[in-house]
Amino acid sequence: MAMEATIAFHKVRLGFGEGDVLQDLSFAVMPRETLVLLGETGTGKTLSLKMAAGLLKPQDGDVSVLGRPVSRMKEKELLDFRREIGFVFQEGALFDSMTVEENVAYRLREERVPEEEILPRVRETLRFVELEHAIDQVPSELSGGMRRRASIARALITQPPIVLYDSPTAGLDPVTSQTIITLILRLRDIYGVTALLATHRLQDGYALANYYFDTASGSVKPNRERQSDSASQGETSTRFAVLRDGKVFFAGTPEELAAARDPYLKRFLV
């Protein structure tokens, strides 16, 4: 199974000085699957995402992404490899001295894409996240939700096969959170990206598991309304992995999580 997985963590350990944050962490994300990493603050969700992108190296264990041994690759190799991955940081991490256009176009300019191709692609991507009107604004002029959307646009400008989301709805109001989740649904169901999403909000995971983006009507619909012929869109699935004490405490489908009787898991369900 691990051989086929798009992202695979095998017995990963990572610590800082006084103790291990992650120990014996193993999980796999299959192609077109969204794995929701659920956990309290400080359980190592962000660290897991950063290891998947090769931004951090585990002290033990292996991380492989798209069949590449990320945990054993050198930084120079990783710089090229990371072009296959979109990373949406918790606070957006937009370059604050650049406009939205420059932020989103950053990767294209780094890859020396001809200048006449860049603006149409940036506009198209910003249209996807409904932020085209803010193209000339700088991050300090954007609201929290707009910053996250700009960050998502920046991550998907090269249409990477994998997107890593670090608490994409943290600190946002429910309406804005819903907008971000809808965007993630669209990204998943239109482009079929494989995703690893870290969050402490169970409702985000359930929204991803129970809804889909219907390309025909251009709206979000519950899974039960999904037509049998919608397989043409490509089946996507959502699973949960709950982190606790540096390990995967629970792994399973949304239904299995909902049916869990463990007191710790029930705390997430309340």
Binding site: T43, K45, F89
Partner: protein
């Protein structure tokens, strides 16, 4: 996000073990060696990046504008008054021997060999090492550096090398300007305070300088520029502790750069004088 392992749920507080003085000293020494190693690696990397692509020429030009043109007013203003005050101070001694005409020689040598490079470097350190450290530090704590890496960009190429290169290029230019403006300030002071003939002042100032003095005066800012920019970048990219840490790193960048520049100056001067005897 887990900033420290203490945030891990379920971690029990461990019993405190007594720590010996030797452990603390050895631990401190190891940390110091580690920091020197990290700094040396970053400094070497910043130079090695020039040899291979991708190169960020526009970023380098932007930094040259920010560091060079931005520092011009303070460097010129300070240079003028340093030159003037040098004339007043040296003349007060020369006047005792009736040799005020030597003022031009003394001021030119002091400015070109020592005061120009050192003062300009310290001024640029105050303005730019702090700026570099705070800018990079802010980028680090807001995950912009990680975002850059996540998008396949090497921060040492994009952020460090352009700043180091820009500082190395513009600091000798700024020093040359400081030297000239300092002599202008000295001339003004000499004319109005000592009633010296400006032609005599300039003639003596220029004649007193040899090629070795210019060489010494222009090689120093190259080294000082390298020191202040690499220290600024290192302190910025190793910020710990959020925005408070950025402030701390900024202060450290200025203090460390200034001290290292002054200490290095002593050795460079000795070296330059040695080579001046051997070569020129």
């Amino acid at each position: 996000m887990a900033d420290s392992p203490l945030q891990v749920s379920g971690n029990q507080p461990q019993a405190e073990n007594p720590v010996s003085v030797s452990d603390v000293l050895i631990g401190g020494a190891k940390q110091a060696v580690l920091r020197v190693q990290e700094y040396s690696y970053l400094a070497m990397q910043s130079v090695a990046n020039v040899l291979s692509g991708p190169r960020y020429i526009q970023d380098t030009l932007d930094q040259m504008d920010s560091i060079g043109v931005g520092s011009l007013p303070i460097v010129m203003l300070t240079g003028f008054f340093i030159g003037a005050v040098m004339v007043l101070q040296t003349a007060s001694q020369f006047v005792r021997f009736g040799q005020t005409s030597l003022t031009g020689d003394a001021v030119a040598l002091a400015l070109v060999r020592e005061l120009g490079p050192t003062l300009t470097s310290l001024l640029v350190t105050g303005r730019c090492a702090s700026g570099i450290a705070s800018e990079l530090g802010s980028m680090l704590v807001t995950e912009q550096v990680d975002a850059m890496r996540a998008m396949g960009t090497d921060p040492s190429r994009k952020l460090v090398t352009p700043r180091v290169l820009a500082t190395i290029i513009v600091l000798p230019m700024l020093t040359a300007i400081t030297d000239f403006i300092g002599l202008v300030g000295g001339c003004v002071a000499a004319v109005f305070s000592l009633r010296l003939d400006p032609v005599q002042f300039w003639t003596r100032a220029i004649n007193s300088l040899e090629i070795a003095d210019l060489f010494q005066g222009l090689i120093k800012p190259v080294i000082f520029g390298f020191i202040l920019s690499t220290v600024g970048c290192y302190k910025g990219l190793t910020v710990r502790g959020g925005t408070q840490g950025v402030g701390r790193s900024t202060t450290q960048a200025v203090v460390i750069s200034s001290v290292v520049i002054i200490v290095t100056d002593t050795f460079l001067t000795k070296l330059a004088l040695y080579f001046a005897d051997k070569i020129f």
